[in-house]
Symmetry: D2
Subunit: 281 residues, 4 copies
Amino acid sequence: MANSLLPEHLLVGRDAGQTAAVYVTPSVQVGGDTPIVMAGPCSVESWDQIITAAREVAAAGAHVLRGGAYKPRTSPYSFQGLGDEGLALLSEAGAAVGLPIVTEVMDARDVERVGRRAHLLQVGARNMQNFTLLKELGRCDRPVLLKRGMAATLEEWLLAAEYVLAGGNPRVILCERGSRGFETYTRGTLDLGVAVAARGLSHLPVIADPSHAAGRAELVAPLARAAVAAGLDGVIVEVHPNPEQALSDGAQSLTPLQFRQLLRELGAVAARQRQPAAATA
Amino acid sequence: MANSLLPEHLLVGRDAGQTAAVYVTPSVQVGGDTPIVMAGPCSVESWDQIITAAREVAAAGAHVLRGGAYKPRTSPYSFQGLGDEGLALLSEAGAAVGLPIVTEVMDARDVERVGRRAHLLQVGARNMQNFTLLKELGRCDRPVLLKRGMAATLEEWLLAAEYVLAGGNPRVILCERGSRGFETYTRGTLDLGVAVAARGLSHLPVIADPSHAAGRAELVAPLARAAVAAGLDGVIVEVHPNPEQALSDGAQSLTPLQFRQLLRELGAVAARQRQPAAATA
Amino acid sequence: MANSLLPEHLLVGRDAGQTAAVYVTPSVQVGGDTPIVMAGPCSVESWDQIITAAREVAAAGAHVLRGGAYKPRTSPYSFQGLGDEGLALLSEAGAAVGLPIVTEVMDARDVERVGRRAHLLQVGARNMQNFTLLKELGRCDRPVLLKRGMAATLEEWLLAAEYVLAGGNPRVILCERGSRGFETYTRGTLDLGVAVAARGLSHLPVIADPSHAAGRAELVAPLARAAVAAGLDGVIVEVHPNPEQALSDGAQSLTPLQFRQLLRELGAVAARQRQPAAATA
Amino acid sequence: MANSLLPEHLLVGRDAGQTAAVYVTPSVQVGGDTPIVMAGPCSVESWDQIITAAREVAAAGAHVLRGGAYKPRTSPYSFQGLGDEGLALLSEAGAAVGLPIVTEVMDARDVERVGRRAHLLQVGARNMQNFTLLKELGRCDRPVLLKRGMAATLEEWLLAAEYVLAGGNPRVILCERGSRGFETYTRGTLDLGVAVAARGLSHLPVIADPSHAAGRAELVAPLARAAVAAGLDGVIVEVHPNPEQALSDGAQSLTPLQFRQLLRELGAVAARQRQPAAATA
């Protein structure tokens, strides 16, 4: 790397700026020509909820179905997710609509079991420096979606990815989900500058999570369009059949209708974005 | 305003979400259908420098020429700008290429004098809560470009604008320029979520300053595209004929070549952005 | 300075770590052996209020009377202080109880007039980089209390002081008042580490403002004791005869009774603090 | 709890403000009348190093020996600690000088094994919301030292403790170690306001870690004195026989000589602090 942020020998830095696509399935590549959209509810709540969500996001054009089965919740008394049952429901719903699934894994002891069903394993922001978990993911054969911690520096984020690569698993997708600051109107601040920088300093694809960054549904679409226009490789968005009744993150979830509208907008931004500049003059 | 952030009666909140264009000149409106681009060097350094910069940004398609004459510098021993002479040079350069000019005013006592030459008066981030200055600007007949403070909340930003409106001057353009956080790789974090929210909670147009947010030239174009894709009303960008020799902010200044490329990209993003969604399906 | 934060030649850095006392009056020196206590209401509200407050804080042992006449308020519709009348009342009250007074000056045009009555001129956090004001204070013959901006770095704070010193006024007292972060339970975070560092990197005395940092009365005494134990040169504390009826900052104001208790505690901390370590073994 | 931050029913909130001492051993109680001092090197590096450190801190009067065996390091290529061997050395050194030991546990699978040797199990800042680990600690019979995350709110911190209490382990000591912000001169900002608030909103004892907060040895003693003066229940401090040769955190480690001096100062602050206010008048 030309840049002095990181030591020369890092695996994440090899061929910096030459994004190497990560295949979630043979037909879904993150880091290729098309921005990838992952979508679904914050938590899997029931079969009806997840299959409805899955059908809606698949119909709208999403590439990956998301859903939480094991939830990291601030309070021990909040809904903690449906666990193994939630994962089974998510897996069935994904299969039913033909989409691969991404879900969070919190416990190193669960990596193998969750990896049997999920195509992409998410590390949440709170666990970005859970080195036990990162090392375990370095030994598994599933791609990893590594969210940036709420107060993690660019260097810490890339070095967290290095833990997975150094363990033998080269398939890491980075995800910027908003950093924590003094502003209380939004849940976080989507740091597109650092996301673009991470994409330039490494060969890893980088996506954005505008839902958690904004914490408000009306800001999700503008931030998602911004992420794609900035050149990121996709977005992960929360969509719920009925946001007002969601057990978690309802305020930031899009309705299926809003999501369809967003995908049309993203297509437009992306189409322009990928054309050679000369052609647009 | 439906939203509870601000009291009902605020002038900035009247017709919230219905952006009322601010005319910098009869032909340059900020908040209309076309994203506006303001560009030029951080500081006016010499006639050669500013006229070269002016010609370049005009040729590329910028709408307003920027340049600092009175500079707020952290150290009293740093270059403080050329002052009145700088303003005269900027004014001449703008006139020569047919662009209106924007420059920062730091001292309430300078408002009238600077306003005689500048078409748009900028309040810098450090002065966002310089209430003396805001009140003076409320009494002048020039439009005001009000930058968000580095650690100002959305509420504080809108209430700073309210000072100008309450003083009798309705023509305020907001500008998000990056908030200050823990990350050191970039100079700040461009907070597009709050910028979009400010546009929705008020009738004021909102632009972004990706140059100060990023602090690195290579991140300016991605962030500028993101700002326009998010629906903001334009960008203000630092362009220098020779960034390596700039007396201030060289690391974040675009070359004229990079700027021309950026304007092509912005045109593409904006064209798509403004089309009715149905037409893009 | 041994430390590389600042250039060698700075006036603030001369004899770094050797605090040179600033005399507010011939008998009140900040930076000497005794921690100084400045106290009084956030705003001067009436003669009854300020004379009651003045008597209480004088009786408890405070060294300087504080009170705001010109208030920097986030909203233009909030109480803006009594202005000149407030200053006159503060001046009379201070004289009546034999205490010098400190008050904030916001406008460079007011420096001379306010300086005729106030013994110590305060620069508020929002104006720390109001260079117009700093330059004017560099030309006056009153000592200056320079609050650290809510998001100002140590370097920026010291360089703001340098503006005053470079203008010809050597009498600057620094004041840490809490930096802005993600925590919402408190108003800010009192940054004693940076305050102690500022005292070591310069020859300027440094005090703390636990009232604005905490924003909650019950945290003021613990933070004030902490500031003195850390070796700072004093504190500035908000005291109101009747906090529940205060026009501003009531939630963080101490009652006279709480303030007397605090002064007893500070005396104890300071007495121990200043003894040679050997004597305490 | 009178305060509205937390729901009424929380275990951490029971008898808020009435600190219930946590016994590390029958003779070392945290939260009693005497501030407790935990000290030792960042990492256990060798037998010579840890026994020397242990003798020094014991001779100076420390109550608990600290030392890292399993280290959470930002880079996978940094020294990761000696692991089981490090824990064995720490245990022997503690026994040799008659001090209980505290060490960090990072992996839920290690809780039982580490708990067999360590008297107090530390959760590091990066793992404050590692809920897998917290739940495991809720099932063990060792007291837990729970560090506040670098960007964790007061509410999140107390709810992380609630995970341990809800699991059946009532013995939690909170530790404030500096929050992350924009300042780069120090490593973090010791947030004594929130630490005091945590002590008031819960019955848990609270200590401070000035070493990690400051990141600079010269600021450790002032911050440690401040923590005790603010009324916290103790401090945890890094001490190394030879800081310049430390494998980690050398810049913030005290020498044994500096540590002895600090303990004298803390004794003085604490003696005064604990006396009834009336007696000090």
